[in-house]
C-alpha cells in the first residue's frame, strides 16, 4: 500500500499465521477502537506462503509469522528493515483429545504411546513450526518409535486439530491457542507440553517496506502490555526477554 | 383367417387405417407414393421408432405392438429394417454389422448366417471389408444383408435397391424375391421403381399426402388407379378429363376434347357426368394411316410433337386434339418412321382405358 501520513481513513493489510486468528481478531478490534479511522484487514494463512507472496510483491504492510526466522529472512532480503523485526509471542504446545477419545491427554506425549491410541495428528514438521515443535516433543518423550506408524500430518496446525476434533485421530499435538479457540474449547480436553520439551516456538513479525505508520502502531500495540494481555488470554507466552 | 398387420396411425403427415394380409405365399406389400408421402414415417411407426398419437394401433398377427400409449419396445418386435439412409455402424466391419443382431447363436452359426445374408444381398465379396469407404450401393446392400440376417418376423425395406445400377438391381431383385418368397417373411417394401414393385410385390399400397389412396394386387392398382392422385403416383401418363356420352353393353362412351373414347363401364356413371380417363402410355399403340380392322378399339388421329428416348423405350408425345403420350420400342419407331410431325393413328384398346368418376 502507498505510504500515507498518519491519520484517519488509513487501511492496513496484515498477513498473519493462522494460529493467531482468534487472538489477533480481538487485538485488532481493540486497536481499531483506539485508532479511529484505521481499518485493519487481516489475511490468515500459512507463514511460509506469506513469505513467498511477499517476495513477489504482495501488498502486505505487516507480517506476523509463526516463526520469527521467516520475518528475519525477509529483512535480509531488503523487504524490510532489520530493526523492524520484532518478537510478539512464544507458542505453547498441548496434547489435545476429543471428548470420548481413547487417548488421555493428561498422560502427556508419552501417553500417546499406549496401544489404545492408534492415530495422532500433528502439523507437517517440514514446514509448520508447531509441527517441528510436536516432533521435538515426541523425541523428548522418547516415544518416537511407538508413534511412528500413528502419525497423520496436517498441512498446518489447524488441519491437525481438525483430524483430532473429528475423532479420526485419537489425539493431536497442537498449539494451545487452537485448543482455546471457540471451535475446540468445549470439544475436548488437553494438557500442556512443558516448554522445555521442545525448542521455543518464537513467533515474530516485521513491518514491511513501504508500510504506513499505522502498521508500526499495530506492531507496537501487539508488543504493548495490552496486546500481550490479549495474546496471553489466547494461549501465548510473551516473547523471550519480555516481561511475563 | 390369414394373419394380418393392422395399422391405425396418425403421425406427422400420416393418417392411415390399414389392414394388410400376410399370407406366407404372398408376403410382400409394396408402399408406393410420391416423395414426402409418409412412407418412411409409416415404417418408423410400425418399427416402434416413432410414437404415433393415440388412438394408435399396430397389431401384427394378433400381437399388439401399439395400443394408445402402450407400446412394445422397438427391440422386442423382432423386426428387420433397412433404413433409407442405411445407418450402418461406421466403426464395425461389414461382417460385424451384419452379425450385430445375431445374438445367442453359436459362433459358427452366426458366421454362416452372416455369410448367407451377404450372399443374399449380392455382396459376398465385401466380407471382411471396413464399413467406411463403402460406396453408396455397397452400403445399401450391406444394410439389406443386416436386415435379412436376423430372420425377422417382419421385414421393413425402405428403398432397398435405389442406389444400385440397373444390371445389379435386376439381378438382385430376382434373388431377393426368391429369398422373401421362400422364407415367407411378411415384408413392407418402399420403392419408387415401378419395375421393382411389379417384380417384388404381391400387394401395393399407394400413399399420397399421408393417406392410403388405394390398395390391392400390384398389377391391378397400376392399371386401375382409383383416384387421379394414384394415377399420377403410379405414373399413368395420360389422364384425360371428359364427360360420359352414353352407356351400352358394358361399355361407356366418353367425350374427350375433340374426340371420344370407349371404355369398360366401371358402374355408377351417369350420362353427362364428369370422368377422368386414364391410359398408360405403353397401352397406346401407334400405326400408320393404313387402317386395320380389329376388336373394340379406340382410334384417334394424331400428330407426333416430340420423341424422347427413355431407357429401353421411346416416349412419343402426340397431339390428338388433347395431349397424349405413347411408349413405343425403338424397333416400332423405325418401322413406323416416326419423326416429329409424323401423322399417325393412336390405338387404345377399350379395356386399357380406365375411368375414374370425378366429383
Amino acid at each position: 500500500a502507498p505510504p500515507a501520513p498518519g491519520g484517519t481513513g488509513q487501511e492496513i493489510t496484515v498477513a498473519a499465521a493462522s494460529d493467531l486468528k482468534f487472538a489477533l481478531d480481538e487485538a485488532v478490534e481493540v486497536f481499531e477502537t483506539e485508532h479511529d479511522g484505521v481499518e485493519v484487514e487481516v489475511t490468515y494463512g500459512s507463514s511460509g506462503t506469506f513469505v513467498q507472496q511477499i517476495r513477489n510483491g504482495a501488498p502486505f504492510d505487516l507480517y506476523l509469522s509463526a516463526d520469527i526466522s521467516l520475518a528475519e529472512q525477509l529483512a535480509e532480503e531488503d523487504r524490510a528493515r532489520p530493526q523492524d523485526v520484532f518478537g510478539y509471542a512464544v507458542g505453547r504446545l498441548v496434547v489435545w483429545a476429543a471428548e470420548g477419545s481413547t487417548a488421555d491427554p493428561r498422560k502427556g506425549v508419552a501417553g500417546l504411546a499406549e496401544d489404545a491410541v492408534t492415530t495422532v495428528a500433528i502439523a507437517n514438521p517440514e514446514h509448520a513450526p508447531y509441527g517441528r515443535a510436536a516432533e521435538a516433543a515426541i523425541r523428548t518423550a522418547g516415544v518416537e518409535e511407538e508413534l511412528e506408524g500413528k502419525l497423520v500430518l496436517g498441512e498446518n496446525i489447524a488441519q491437525a486439530a481438525e483430524f483430532a476434533r473429528s475423532g479420526n485421530a485419537d489425539a493431536g499435538i497442537i498449539a494451545l491457542s487452537l485448543a482455546l479457540s471457540p471451535g475446540l474449547r468445549d470439544e475436548g480436553t488437553y494438557s500442556e507440553v512443558p516448554l522445555e520439551d521442545f525448542p521455543t516456538v518464537e513467533q515474530g513479525g516485521v513491518v514491511l517496506e513501504g508500510a504506513p505508520q499505522e502498521a508500526r502502531d499495530l506492531a507496537a500495540f501487539l508488543t504493548s502490555p495490552d496486546g500481550r494481555g490479549i495474546l496471553a488470554e489466547h494461549g501465548f507466552h510473551p516473547p523471550a526477554g519480555a516481561e511475563g | 383367417m390369414a394373419p394380418t398387420l393392422s395399422l391405425r396411425l396418425r403421425h406427422q403427415v400420416l393418417d392411415v387405417d390399414l389392414s394388410l394380409p400376410l399370407e406366407a405365399d404372398a408376403p410382400v406389400t409394396v408402399l408406393f407414393g410420391p416423395s414426402g408421402a409418409g412412407k418412411t414415417t409409416l415404417l418408423r411407426c410400425v418399427a416402434g421408432l416413432d410414437a404415433p398419437a393415440p388412438p394408435a394401433r399396430v397389431v401384427l398377427d394378433g400381437e399388439v405392438w401399439n395400443e394408445g400409449r402402450r407400446r412394445v419396445n422397438a427391440r422386442r418386435r423382432g423386426i428387420g429394417y433397412l433404413f433409407q439412409d442405411h445407418a450402418l455402424f461406421p466403426h464395425m466391419g461389414v461382417d460385424a454389422n451384419v452379425a450385430y443382431g445375431l445374438t445367442g447363436l453359436p459362433r459358427a452359426e452366426r458366421r454362416a448366417r452372416t455369410a448367407q445374408a451377404l450372399a443374399d444381398a449380392g455382396v459376398a465379396h465385401l466380407a471382411g471389408r471396413a464399413t467406411r469407404g463403402l460406396s453408396g450401393g455397397e452400403a445399401q446392400r450391406v444394410a439389406l444383408a443386416r436386415a435379412l440376417a436376423v430372420r425377422p418376423r417382419l421385414l421393413l425395406l425402405d428403398e432397398p435397391l435405389s442406389a444400385l445400377d440397373a444390371p445389379t438391381r435386376t439381378g438382385l431383385r430376382a434373388g431377393l424375391r426368391a429369398v422373401l418368397a421362400s422364407s415367407g417373411t411378411p415384408t413392407l417394401l418402399v420403392t419408387h421403381d415401378r419395375a421393382e414393385a411389379l417384380a417384388l410385390g404381391d400387394r401395393l399400397v399407394v400413399l399420397v399426402d399421408g393417406r392410403v389412396h388405394q390398395q390391392g394386387p400390384v398389377q391391378e392398382v397400376f392399371s386401375r388407379p382409383a383416384t387421379p392422385e394414384v394415377a399420377r403416383a403410379v405414373g399413368t401418363e395420360n389422364v384425360l378429363s371428359g364427360r360420359v356420352e352414353s352407356r351400352a353393353g358394358g361399355l361407356v362412351r366418353v367425350g374427350v376434347a375433340a374426340g371420344a373414347l370407349v371404355a369398360p363401364d366401371p358402374g355408377g356413371l351417369v350420362p353427362g357426368g364428369r370422368v377422368l380417363a386414364c391410359v398408360r402410355a405403353e397401352d397406346v399403340a401407334l400405326e400408320t394411316e393404313a387402317a386395320r380392322a380389329a376388336s373394340p378399339r379406340n382410334r384417334v388421329a394424331a400428330t407426333v410433337t416430340a420423341i424422347v428416348p427413355e431407357g429401353p423405350l421411346e416416349r412419343v408425345e402426340l397431339d390428338a386434339g388433347f395431349p397424349l403420350t405413347a411408349y413405343v420400342t425403338r424397333t416400332s419407331r423405325h418401322e413406323l418412321g416416326l419423326v416429329p410431325g409424323s401423322r399417325v393413328r393412336a390405338v387404345v384398346k377399350a379395356a386399357a382405358v380406365h375411368l375414374i368418376p370425378r366429383t
Binding site: 513477489n56 498446518n156 471457540p182 471451535g183 | -
Partner: protein, 224 residues
C-alpha cells in the same frame, strides 16, 4: 456470510469461462482438425496445468507473473498496476488452470462432428473459421456446455492457485472458496456450512438452468 467473496467468485468464474470459451474454441479446433503430427504434443501440454498441485502451480505462476518476472514488470509498466494480487492476476491464473477443462471437451466434441459436413462446408467455399463457427460449434453444443460448466464450477471451487496468486485479500482477491476454507480452518463450521450450502445451491441453479437449456432435442432411448 462473506458477500464480497461471493460476488468476486461469480465475477471471476464468469470472466474465466468467457475468456476460456473464446480462446479455447480456436485452439480446440486447431488441435482437433490439424493433420500435423506434433499437435499431440500441444494437446498434452494443454492438459499439464492439471497435474501440478494447484498451490504449486500457483507458486510458479506467482513467480512467473510477479514483480520479479519480465511479464509482471511489463504488465506493471503498461497498466500501472501489478498483475499478482489483483483481479487480473486471478483471471490469468484461473484461465491457465482451467484451460484443460475447456479445451478437452471441446476437442472431443469437435472430433465427433460428421466429417462429411465439414467437406460440404469447404466445398461451398467457406473458410475454416466460418466452418468452425457455423457448422462445428453448433453441432458441438454438448461439448460447449461441458466446457463451460467445468470451467465455471472449477473456478468457483478452486482456491490453491487463487490463494497463491491473489493473496486472499478481503474484498479484492478473497474468493468464496478461500472464505469457506478459512472458515473451516478456524473451526467456524456453522459459517462454513452456510457458505457451502449457498455455494452448492447457487451452482445447482446455474447448472440445472444450463443443462435444461442444453437438453432440448437431445437423443433419448425409445420409451418401453
Amino acid at each position: 456470510m462473506d458477500w464480497d467473496a461471493v460476488a468476486l467468485s461469480v465475477r471471476l468464474a464468469s470472466a474465466t469461462t468467457l475468456v476460456l470459451l473464446v480462446g479455447a474454441v480456436p485452439l480446440a479446433a486447431w488441435l482437433a482438425f490439424s493433420r500435423r503430427r506434433w499437435t499431440v504434443l500441444v494437446e498434452a501440454v494443454v492438459a499439464l496445468p492439471l497435474v501440478l498441485p494447484p498451490t504449486v502451480l500457483g507458486f510458479y505462476l506467482l513467480v512467473a507473473l510477479g514483480e520479479g518476472s519480465p511479464v509482471g514488470r511489463w504488465w506493471s509498466e503498461t497498466t500501472g498496476s501489478p498483475l499478482v494480487f489483483t483481479f487480473n492476476g486471478l483471471l490469468v491464473a484461473s484461465v491457465l488452470h482451467s484451460l484443460p477443462f475447456a479445451v478437452q471437451p471441446l476437442m472431443a466434441s469437435f472430433a465427433g462432428v460428421d466429417r462429411r459436413l465439414l467437406e460440404a462446408s469447404w466445398i461451398l467455399g467457406r473458410s475454416q473459421a466460418a466452418t468452425v463457427l457455423r457448422v462445428v460449434l453448433p453441432l458441438s453444443r454438448p461439448g460447449l456446455v461441458t466446457a463451460a460448466v467445468l470451467s465455471f464450477a472449477h473456478t468457483i471451487g478452486e482456491f490453491g492457485v487463487v490463494l497463491m496468486v491473489g493473496g486472499n485479500i478481503p474484498g479484492r482477491t478473497r474468493t468464496v472458496a478461500i472464505s469457506v476454507y478459512d472458515s473451516v480452518q478456524s473451526f467456524d463450521y456453522a459459517t462454513a456450512a452456510r457458505t457451502s450450502v449457498l455455494l452448492l445451491l447457487f451452482s445447482l441453479v446455474v447448472l440445472v438452468a444450463t443443462y435444461a437449456l442444453n437438453r432440448r432435442g437431445g437423443p433419448a432411448w425409445p420409451r418401453p
